[in-house]
């Protein structure tokens, strides 16, 4: 049957990733019938609600150098990119447990593949929103597309790092899943998705800026609106230190707990 020579580790890994990607892509888009719908409806609903609220409190004037709706779309899309990296990798290992019967498949593979797939879907949805926004006459065309891309990829890798860590803790200690779901909404607020952070007093902001997501969102917005005033304290260096630390920690944990993740 199959002509099979000895393969190098890299070839094996690549074929596992390919097989896993095709499998996840099919499941993601076919079994979850409303998956596509929600991916677009959730941000639309969120934006609609906030635009209505804004009519009352007029928060739009607080954002310097960008108009409210494009500002919020970019922030929300960036936030969902990170959030989905976390939430989709939580279940990645358990969902693919049966496939660890093949020694080629390692627990880290479904996590990497899911974060990649989720990011691709989110990128596509984001492009749809940008296109839709442009057709509606919003000022959402990136002023500095390369910098916006850099911000987007930073958020993507941040989601990957968080996903790598959470997939291990979520599988070994199932209670973490509850905590992650619980902090998801507060995180949306303190990351400055719907409300600009700079209206907060300095003593509070000092602590909120430990959250790397806020840095990523500000940088993404700066890529879109070149006149945008980022929140005081935004730093690429801090963001990327967090990203590298989380990714390193996540990979180490995957390596350290490999056997327990498989056996669980």
């Amino acid at each position: 049957m199959g002509t099979m020579q000895t393969r190098t580790s890299w070839q094996v890994t690549r074929s596992v990733w390919f097989a896993m990607f095709m499998r996840e892509a099919v499941t993601r888009t076919t079994t979850d019938r409303l998956g596509w719908f929600w991916m677009i409806a959730e941000p639309v609903a969120m934006i609609a609600i906030l635009v209505i609220i804004r009519g009352f409190i007029d928060g739009g004037k607080l954002i310097m150098g960008a108009s409210f709706v494009p500002w919020m779309i970019t922030g929300m899309m960036g936030f969902y990119l990170v959030r989905d990296g976390m939430s989709r990798s939580q279940g990645a290992i358990n969902a693919n447990r049966a496939l660890f019967a093949y020694r080629q498949v390692q627990p880290v593979d479904p996590v990497l593949v899911r974060v990649f797939l989720e990011g691709m879907l989110r990128t596509f949805v984001f492009l749809l929103f940008v296109l839709g926004g442009l057709l509606l006459g919003l000022d959402i065309f990136p002023d500095n597309a390369l910098f916006a891309l850099f911000g987007w990829i930073s958020l993507w890798t941040l989601g990957l790092g968080l996903g790598l860590v959470i997939s291990v803790t979520g599988t070994l200690v199932p209670e973490t899943a509850k905590i992650i779901n619980m902090i998801s909404f507060p995180l949306l607020i303190i990351s400055g998705v719907i409300m600009p952070l700079h209206i907060l007093p300095h003593y509070l902001l000092k602590y909120l800026m430990f959250n790397p997501i806020a840095h990523g969102l500000e940088l993404l917005r700066l890529g879109f609106f070149s006149s945008y005033k980022v929140v005081h304290g935004t730093s690429e260096i801090y963001l990327w230190l967090c990203i590298l630390a989380l990714n390193a920690l996540g990979l180490l944990m995957q390596l350290r707990f490999k056997d327990r993740l498989k056996a669980q």
Partner: protein, 222 residues
């Protein structure tokens, strides 16, 4: 050839208590082209040993050297993702094993061999254990492994499938060998030359499978 050196394995509980060794200081050399039957009581560590040989699990101490292509443990459970159809699972495994351009040929072969009819396109979770084992068995035969590892898989299925299965293995004599766990001693005697008897975490090698079965009987009826 498969070389097992100073192999130790135990499953520790999550609360940190240390359990007894399931396998204790196992040293074995399984020669090329020799079919081996594994016997022992329930819980003696037969499936654990198979998992370690196939590389699905890693030992706590010692090592397993595989100088040949070894299959996954073909058994009644595991190896398939319940929500995917039989075809999707086969496609996944074919890709993982590096099927490349042969993926379609492998799928056709498995579909024909497992002979599941329309169930091949239904989710695995709707399968009976016999259907699962047939699919798993057919799938493993689609690849040219040097050693096939079977955990109670050959004994399943109806009469026609059993005949088909043992014929498929007899066709492979000379190219590949078998390591099987089975409580059906007729199958062990028919297919295997050598035997391994597992008792209290220790493995004893017998050049003749009949001696291994005899030793096992002595434990059961002293």
């Amino acid at each position: 050839m498969i070389k097992i050196q100073n192999l130790y394995k135990r499953y520790n509980s999550r609360d940190g208590t240390v359990n007894d060794w399931v396998l204790k200081n196992i040293n074995l050399i399984i020669p090329k082209n020799m079919n081996v039957g594994l016997v022992g009581r329930n819980g003696a560590g037969k499936s654990t040993l198979l998992r370690l040989i196939s590389g699905m699990d890693s030992p706590e101490r010692g090592k397993v050297e595989r100088q040949c292509r070894v299959s996954w443990p073909i058994g009644l459970s595991g190896g398939f993702q319940g929500s995917m159809t039989g075809r999707q699972n086969v496609k996944f495994v074919a890709r993982v094993q590096g099927g490349g351009l042969n993926v379609q040929r492998i799928i056709d072969y498995v579909e024909d061999f497992a002979d599941l009819g329309s169930a091949f396109d239904h989710p695995i979770k709707t399968y009976s254990s016999g259907m699962r084992a047939r699919l798993n068995f057919g799938l493993s035969l689609a690849f040219d492994f040097d050693v096939y590892i079977s955990d109670e898989a050959i004994a399943v299925g109806d009469r026609t499938f059993k005949n088909k299965a043992s014929k498929a293995f007899k066709d492979k004599v000379g190219q590949s060998s078998l390591i099987i766990v089975s409580h059906a001693e007729g199958i062990l005697k028919e297919l295997c030359q050598a035997g391994i008897y597992l008792k209290n975490g220790q493995a004893n090698w017998y050049d003749d499978v009949n001696d291994a079965i005899k030793a096992y009987h002595q434990e059961a009826h002293p």
